[in-house]
Symmetry: D3
Subunit: 154 residues, 6 copies
């Protein structure tokens, strides 16, 4: 077992995906922003505003996913067939849970795109709420599932 991003001399490198087949790849990632009850209630209480905080976070997550190759040094720049980001209030945290799904027909997996969408959406929630709660924590950012299936064209 070895770190694929290190070459034989232990130096960082991008993995060559030239020989991999083009298949349909999907990845789902998740994360949460945990906040004070007071901050949570402010978001939850604001009707349309609530929609806005979550919508802005979702839009930022989708756009963040498209910047993955710009941000993560050894990630491949890829097209994406779709990115879906959902941010929802969870009273139990209390806070916001973000779930992102990325799909592509391509030679390389899209878990980094899903994870980047989650991270950027969480940072966006943090930014919009930070004036009322400086102790928020972004946590539990992880891959939920990763699948691939052959292309219809094959």
């Amino acid at each position: 077992m070895k770190l694929t991003h290190l070459d034989e001399r232990g130096r960082a490198r991008m993995v060559d995906v030239g020989g991999k087949p083009e298949v349909n790849r999907t990845a789902v990632a998740q994360g949460v922003v945990r906040m004070s009850r007071e901050a949570f209630d402010l978001i939850a209480a604001q009707g349309v505003a609530k929609g806005d905080v979550l919508t802005v976070a979702e839009v930022a997550g989708v756009m963040g996913a498209k910047r993955t190759g710009d941000l993560i040094p050894l990630c491949h720049p890829i097209g994406l067939d779709v990115v879906q980001v959902e941010a929802r209030l969870e009273s139990d945290l209390p806070g916001v849970r973000v779930t992102a799904t990325a799909k592509v027909m391509g030679r390389t997996g899209v878990e980094m795109e899903a994870l980047t969408a989650v991270a950027v959406a969480c940072l966006t929630v943090y930014d919009m709420v930070k004036a009322v709660d400086r102790r928020m924590v972004i946590e539990d950012v992880k891959l939920v599932s990763k699948t691939k299936r052959p292309s219809h064209n094959s």
Copy 2:
């Protein structure tokens, strides 16, 4: 108490910092990538390679901080006097702890820059290690401190 990023009708907005004074602002943020013992040992065992994983993550974090205004919709685009990112192995996690410091003489705080640096550095570690551990979790991403002091010129 209210969400400063929502206007009186509850719509998302950028905060106007035009009236704020230019002061020296510093923010420190932190986060961790928790991984399997096996993955941790692989990074720790590789000598120069170890340096590389951590160095690549640090570089990515610094560059990510500079993209904050591009990624977070309602963040102000700002200059930065310095960004420092440190990624280090912590056997207790086991995993990597990332600490980022951002400073600017300006009208708006830099906690989002520090947090974005942390998030991007953690994602970069994740990317380089994901081939050997699919269950890593990015967590405990939070602000550690935030200070401001008057400019020497004032």
Copy 3:
């Protein structure tokens, strides 16, 4: 009278703003997306969805304003104290009217930032509605006002 972006030999150039004073500058720009009555009614009818189309356009406009220096070759890269973008349905058009305000304390005006916000917000509306109306037109994109006033510090 001459084109300031052309030098004495008629070649394109950026204007040197080094000698200009730092003052508070504000610009307001506007534009519309004119669409079919049918498309307009679809947006207007969808309750939360309506909010979403307009909110997504507003977020895109704010982010677009921050990319102005990246997009317009001879524009100065600048900080921005605030960008506000409002997209609202106007039954008379029928369509969406976008208004953007950009402010900065700086050496160069911000009308291009306001206009870029408007253009990107209009393109975003177009993108979200194009499946039901291919004949939309973006028009009347123009500067509404431009002001400057001395800094409080002077």
Copy 4:
């Protein structure tokens, strides 16, 4: 008939193009910058300079088309086989007419790329001429044609 960028709950989403065939897609878009006769004459009179204003706008348009996925939240990031942008003086407006053509072999149309090219080229003309005319208007930005034909490989 419905807005494809809204899901069943009326929330903004990217359209999943994973199931669409790869075909040759072409889109042509157009727009104008209408200006004062005086501003028009200044551009028209300057020989090489004239070339420069139009060339700079064309280059900006091509580069803008390549940034479409970065700017428009729900647009797919795609490769482009070609983007052509033509800016020409039209005495009748008076002003500059921009025409952009975008082509790709892909799963999603390229009208947003053509429209973004037009918008960015028009903004660039505006930027270069604004010192002599503050009342310019960007208008009539619209799709001229959109076609697709099967790939030679199919």
Copy 5:
């Protein structure tokens, strides 16, 4: 023989690659940063630090390659199967030699991606060493080889 980036009227244009076959394309480029013996010795003497200067340059080169389409106006935006950048100290120069390899299965060559990786890596070395040597020169940036071979799928 003619300049493919100029149309029949001598105007700049992007080359239409729509009709070209998708083949495996590889390009290798090289360049050097020549510096004073003193600067060279400082880098060479610093153990881990040496690794850092070169690693940072390599990371910057890889990321630069991914931005090629953003930087070079008439370059196609493309995916990349891999980019490899190696920066190494050469006592004979004295200085740093950068070698970059870019590969893609696509319709257009990747020499600009390899050359951009080299240029950005060289600029990064320059930036890190400039405080001790202001007379460094970046030179000999050139294509070393360019090959294409049919896809396995054909």
Copy 6:
């Protein structure tokens, strides 16, 4: 004498410019693209076209300068008061010589902005001419001068 971009442990870092005064800083850089006589003659022979190759390179150089902080990991993101790029044919090379001037009132020098402008302009010339000459070399990229003078406001 030491490498300012390495901290006491020899790790890469950004230099903290928070304590530096804001002064007017100017940097001039230069570089050349050396090509075959045949390629040179093609550019020189094409009248308006010639203007286009050089103009496109100049525009790319200006835009590249504005991306410096995005490309060079440890460079500060800064505003720029002006960037001027001149590309001209030199029969003696034969080839194109690019000269770039960057100015800012700020806390950090702008030599990297001037050098990045030169590098991107040279790469752009290369891109437009590569179909007729694969043996071009970018060379002699260096700082020509660097000055600073106190601000008028001090």
